[in-house]
């Protein structure tokens, strides 16, 4: 099987890698590039733990081939904070204890970032449906929704 040479942009940096044609972008990020923030909870697009943003679209990286990233822009959880200053969503997740085990947290933060980019002032219902592709088994979602609401109001004010 011939490897595919890929040149792409991840969190603003140019990255080149060689991957197998059937290798998912999630596997490339985790196993080849050491970016283990995106998690594999299911591998079938049902849990959202591997969420990333690909050219301004929220996607599950388990449902994207590594080869497809050629020439595109990838944003992962590792690129969400600026230096040592957390993104408002990250800060609000901490303040509201919107995580217990934390395995779903990177996916939720990426999905919430995408949600607020497209809808800066979402209702509770819009948040709940907007994040329905991300499973959390610990929190019952209550504190996650509150953290996103709070982050939205902070970001609007900024």
């Amino acid at each position: 099987m011939a490897g595919v040479a890929v040149s792409t942009t991840i969190n603003g940096d140019t990255v080149e890698y060689l991957c197998q044609p059937d290798e998912t972008l999630l596997d490339v990020l985790r196993d080849r590039l050491g970016l283990t923030g995106a998690k594999e909870g299911c591998g079938t697009g049902d849990c959202g733990a591997c969420s990333i943003i690909l050219d301004d679209r929220l996607v599950c990286s388990c449902l994207v081939l590594g080869a497809e990233a050629e020439g595109r822009h990838v944003e992962t959880i590792e690129g969400m904070a600026h230096g040592d200053s957390l993104h408002p969503l990250q800060q609000k997740f901490l303040e509201h204890a919107a995580l217990q085990c934390g395995i779903c947290t990177p996916g939720f933060l990426i999905a919430a970032k995408d949600l607020l980019a497209k809808n800066p002032d979402p209702t509770e219902e819009e948040i709940r449906f907007g994040l329905a592709g991300n499973l959390c088994r610990c929190t019952g979602y209550d504190k996650i929704v509150r953290a996103v609401q709070d982050a939205a109001s902070v970001m609007k004010g900024a």
Binding site: G41, G102, L135
Partner: protein
């Protein structure tokens, strides 16, 4: 060690506040390392071959073709995991579950495993392993398995606990009985009797992180295991025993854990990964797929329960009995027994009897799931209690308040209760605005109570004070949902310093003495007790160092608000010494300052909760919507109230999923039909409302701060609370969990 665990009423500075958790930033930046986030040089990929049959004799396994495939470094079968269990039946079952020995006992049962240079090669190798199966008849339903005609899973099993020793083998491994009084007499006094039968389907803990580990066995017989687990010390014991290693030569490090809920208290893949590494001579990473998680790990019991309760016209329960049948998977368990113990624990009963039957079926080995066995028993009992209240014409809350257990009540499972929270949670629920809110068309309100024992157990903790006065706390109970924050609060409270000065870590098995695992809601209860004890030992050393510095007797030095203070007027000119000052001088006063603690945390206070929920049902489709949900629970003392709320909300959400949609669905062939998050339907964000919580604090007399476990009880009432709400909404008693739309619609249609 003279540690007094008794509760003393006191005011708190740190405990009860809500700071940000110490592991938080790593978890919001993707830096935290979970089971699958760790790698070693030269690491191989492990994969497991699993039985496609529910029940089959393994005639022969031919691994020769797989072994010859380029890139394959080890292939193992049960032959590579010889039986070293030495008559320990429970360990033998664990061994057999890790790798089937003579029979595959469920769809998904491991039969062989490979380690190869990459995932593709490992997958190919699995296809080259030839297993010669003799397919046997199977049984997956708990009631079917109890019939005399059912296929036997194990012909060496004769039911224990019967008056007469059985002559024929059975799928029922054990009968247990609890209770007191005379139920016949009790039912004789009853004006009303409700008798109902219930069923619940099997569910999975549904943690988002699949089981994952990296095992590295060296040729000198030492080994390292990195693993997501709720109990790395227990994993060490089990792995060492199964592989014939000395426990101290196996260092187990618990990774961050992506959810467990009881499902990560049992070894599955870890002994296999170690055996592969031993054979290959290289580290092996073994990560389950989601399909494997559903087919081969978890799940909880499926149950069939009969309940009968009688009461007088005035609302006093005179007798209660239940027969509980719980599936155990293919190995003996004590799941029905726990159900039998918890079923009537909320009530003050003169005459009560519960009987449990443990039943073998061709499903995965039942594992603990958050207050294991209690939610199903509560569903049956609390549904019948609602029915009985209705028959008598009493408000269901009033009926429960009238019969609630209280301090001094002999519980249905034996012990006499100390101060407990069932009455207060019911009173709080009765007075909650939720109870009075109006309901619309097709809407129903339900409420239910729940009980869980809680557990204490063996605990070992180290508290080390650095020369800069910062404190590192090494605990051995895995942090599943914020306990490092809670334990840091407790250390700060006891030492009288800022929360920010404390950093808690979960130590590996070589750095600390044995700890039982984080189960039974014991993490914060037991480790806080050990932390208090360790801190008090450290304080003793701190006082001693201050005494040395001042050259006065240690008995004249007291510890207050983070300072050593010379007691009495004669020392009036001595300025208090801060922890920081004493620590800075420690090199000259006797060396490092630390406090250690090893204890058995007895006296976990029992826990009670009352839940209220409103449900709307679409009568044309059977579709449900949870409109409002309220949890009232006793925490003893909420150390970090935000994380206590989180436990209440999370347990309620899991219970809602169980009540409405989650279930294992088997085909006629005994294969699991829905081993994925697409068709095993755990609640998504848009399925749930905000979940309101009310924390009650009835101090546990057996903990210095009054702490009780809070993690599990919240999953106990939801099945019943929702069943009562749905039943009230549609006017038909729902007796089968989950109440999926087809079941609700069928119940409505049957009534029409």
């Amino acid at each position: 060690m003279n540690f007094d665990p008794r509760y003393s009423g006191r005011s708190f500075t740190s405990v009860g506040t809500r700071p940000i958790r110490p592991d938080g930033v790593d978890k919001v930046t993707g830096r935290a390392r979970y089971g699958a986030d760790f790698n070693m040089a030269g690491q191989l990929v492990g994969r497991v071959l699993r039985s496609p049959h529910a029940h089959a004799k393994i005639r022969k396994i031919d691994t020769s073709k797989a072994e010859k495939l380029a890139g394959v470094k080890a292939v193992i079968t049960a032959a590579d995991l010889p039986d070293l269990t030495d008559g320990d039946a429970a360990m033998y079952d664990i061994l057999d579950n890790c790798m089937a020995r003579t029979k595959a006992l469920y769809d998904g049962h491991a039969v062989a495993a490979v380690a190869a240079v990459d995932a593709r090669t490992a997958r190919q190798a699995l296809k080259l392993i030839e297993v010669d199966y003799e397919v046997l008849p199977h049984v997956v339903d708990v009631d079917e398995a109890m019939k005399h005609t059912a296929p036997l899973l194990n012909d060496a099993i004769f039911t224990e606990g019967l008056e007469e020793k059985p002559v024929k083998p059975s799928n029922v491994t054990k009968r247990t009985q609890y209770g007191h009084g005379d139920i016949h007499e009790g039912f004789g006094q009853a004006d009303f009797v409700v008798e109902r039968s219930f069923k619940t389907e099997q569910t999975h803990q549904g943690y988002i992180e699949p089981h994952a580990c990296v095992a590295s066995v060296s040729s000198d017989g030492t080994a390292d295991l990195w693993v997501c687990t709720q109990g790395h010390f227990v994993y060490r014991q089990h792995c060492a025993q199964l592989l014939g290693m000395e426990a101290s030569k196996l260092r187990v490090t618990s990774s961050e854990i992506g959810g467990g809920f009881g499902g990560k208290t049992h070894v599955w893949a870890e002994p296999v990964a170690l055996a592969l590494s031993r054979k290959a001579g290289r580290p092996v990473k073994l990560v389950m797929t989601r399909d494997e998680v559903f087919r081969a790990s978890g799940p909880t019991s499926a149950t069939s329960i009969d309940v009968r309760i009688g009461a007088r016209k005035d609302g006093t329960i005179t007798a209660a009995e239940a027969t509980l049948r719980y599936s155990c998977g293919p190995y003996a368990g004590m799941w029905a027994e726990i159900g039998a113990m918890t079923a009537f624990a909320c009530y003050k009963l003169d005459n009560v009897r519960t009987v449990g039957y443990e039943v073998l079926v061709n499903r995965p080995k039942t594992a603990a799931y958050r207050a294991p066995s209690a939610p199903m028993a509560a569903f049956a009992v609390e549904s019948a209690v609602d029915e009985l209240a209705k028959e008598i014409g009493m408000d269901p809350v009033e009926f429960r308040i009238r019969n609630a257990a209280q301090e001094g009540t002999r519980s249905s499972y034996g012990p006499v209760y100390g101060p407990i929270g069932i009455g207060p949670t019911l009173e709080a629920a009765k007075n909650h605005p939720h109870m009075k809110a109006p309901l619309g068309k097709n809407q129903g309100r339900g409420m239910a109570c729940g009980f869980w024992f809680n557990f204490g157990g063996q605990t070992c903790t180290d508290l080390n004070i650095g020369m800069d006065g910062s404190v590192s706390l090494a605990v051995g109970t895995v942090d599943v949902g914020g306990s490092r924050a809670s334990l840091s609060l407790v250390a700060a409270e006891e030492l009288g310093i800022d929360y920010g000065q404390v950093k808690a870590v979960v130590a590996d098995t070589s750095s600390l003495g044995y700890n039982d695992m984080t189960d039974g809601s014991r993490g914060t209860f037991s480790s806080s007790m050990a932390t208090i004890s360790a801190a008090r030992n450290a304080i003793k050393t701190l006082r001693d160092r201050a005494a040395q510095t001042w050259d006065i007797p240690i008995d004249d030095v007291v510890w207050e608000k983070g300072h050593a203070i010379a007691k009495g007027e004669k020392y009036g000119n001595l300025a208090a010494l801060s922890l920081k000052e004493i620590a800075a001088a420690s090199g000259k006063t006797g060396g490092p300052i630390a406090g250690h603690s090893e204890l058995v945390a007895d006296g976990a206070g029992v826990s009670f909760a009352t839940h209220i929920c409103d449900i709307e049902v679409d009568p044309e489709t059977g579709s449900t919507r949870v409109l409002r949900y309220t949890v009232v629970q006793d925490a003893g003392k909420a150390v970090h109230p935000t994380y206590v709320e989180g436990q209440y909300q999370g347990g309620a959400a899991q219970g809602i999923g169980w009540a409405l949609n989650e279930e294992y669905i088997y085909g006629k062939d005994g294969r699991l039909q829905n081993p994925g998050f697409l068709d095993y339907r755990i609640p998504v964000c848009s399925d749930l409302p905000m979940i309101d919580t009310q924390i009650l604090e009835i101090p546990n007399p057996n903990h210095p701060y009054g702490v009780r476990g809070v993690g599990e009880t919240s999953i106990v009432p939801p099945l019943a609370a929702i069943a009562n709400a749905v039943s009230n909404a549609v006017g038909v008693r729902m007796t089968h969990i989950p109440m999926s739309p087809p079941r609700i619609l069928a119940a409505i249609e049957a009534e029409r």
